[in-house]
Symmetry: C2
Amino acid sequence: MTDSVFEGLNRPIAEMMETQRSIRRLTDRPVDHSIVRRCIELGLKAPTGSNGQNWEFIVVRDAEIKARFARQYRRAWPLYRRTIDSSTPSNARMLDAVQQQIDHFESIPVIVVACLAGGRPTGPYVAKSSYYGSIYPTVQNILLAARSLDLGASLITLPLWSARRSRRILGLPRSVRPACLIALGWPAGRYGPTTRRPVDDVIHLDRWRP
Amino acid sequence: MTDSVFEGLNRPIAEMMETQRSIRRLTDRPVDHSIVRRCIELGLKAPTGSNGQNWEFIVVRDAEIKARFARQYRRAWPLYRRTIDSSTPSNARMLDAVQQQIDHFESIPVIVVACLAGGRPTGPYVAKSSYYGSIYPTVQNILLAARSLDLGASLITLPLWSARRSRRILGLPRSVRPACLIALGWPAGRYGPTTRRPVDDVIHLDRWRP
């Protein structure tokens, strides 16, 4: 592992944001721990509510643990898939990519499980938002760092369908909740750009504009 | 407004992540709409659950709307402040900065309210996580884009203490929920680096290591 691997982290920030996308088709090529560690290290610089820094990250390479998450994913997916309109070409492509990910879940090189320790997503409305607002900025840094290193990444929550079972799989204490999974590996194939709603359609000045 | 304002968006991604921090002391200098718009545009490139792209952003400059959020913030803050241990120097500094932000809330140049349209943070555990996981990656892009432009930014949720009142302030329909506020303005004063827990302390290999 030479330092040149990390040169991608000097790439321009806006370009990295603009070219970020979910990459679900991965090769078997191993991902060195130093790379995963650096992505998480950059993740830690993101803000957390009241600067609580209450994240924990389980870096999963063990085949049996992956297989147990795969079982949860396979169980939850049919229920969820029904809620997605597959008639648009982009949704149809996404559903295919997810199906492929599920079929090959055990061969994903590294899965990072981002967890929150302490606190609970309960209480007044803002408490729930703050709770998850203390992990997803970190997750986004990890995804962007992966992008910058040309490492494929995707954000997944369905394998955590049962919080209790997920905790048991990872041996987590009751005070620690897994929030999401980040699947990491070197991309198989080529990926095009993403499309988004036009920015002026989602901006409202001062008040809601229907 | 010249293009040179946007040159910061070519800065190295890791350096921007490493130097991101909450900046709560802001000058009165106005922030051009083109800057806010560009930050939101980069935000939209972040992932959303099932590619739902169900975000909406209210860009608040109106003094009366700011004053109404300030009232909610002032009401919630004493309740919340009690939960934070003020005996450590870094927490004491944070509490001072937040207090200062509350005292001057009406003079924050721009407040972006990030909202989710449709869906609800209910149902199985993963549904809640996915719900907020569809807005905070976007919020983190906005914060990082602001950092790259040397624009001060901070993530706040307390002014949304009452979801119902927040909706009324912004004229939001029932289907739209505000998730957080991003306060934006040019920084007043100088800001040092942040400190974080050591990365190897928050990484667990395969299973929880107590």
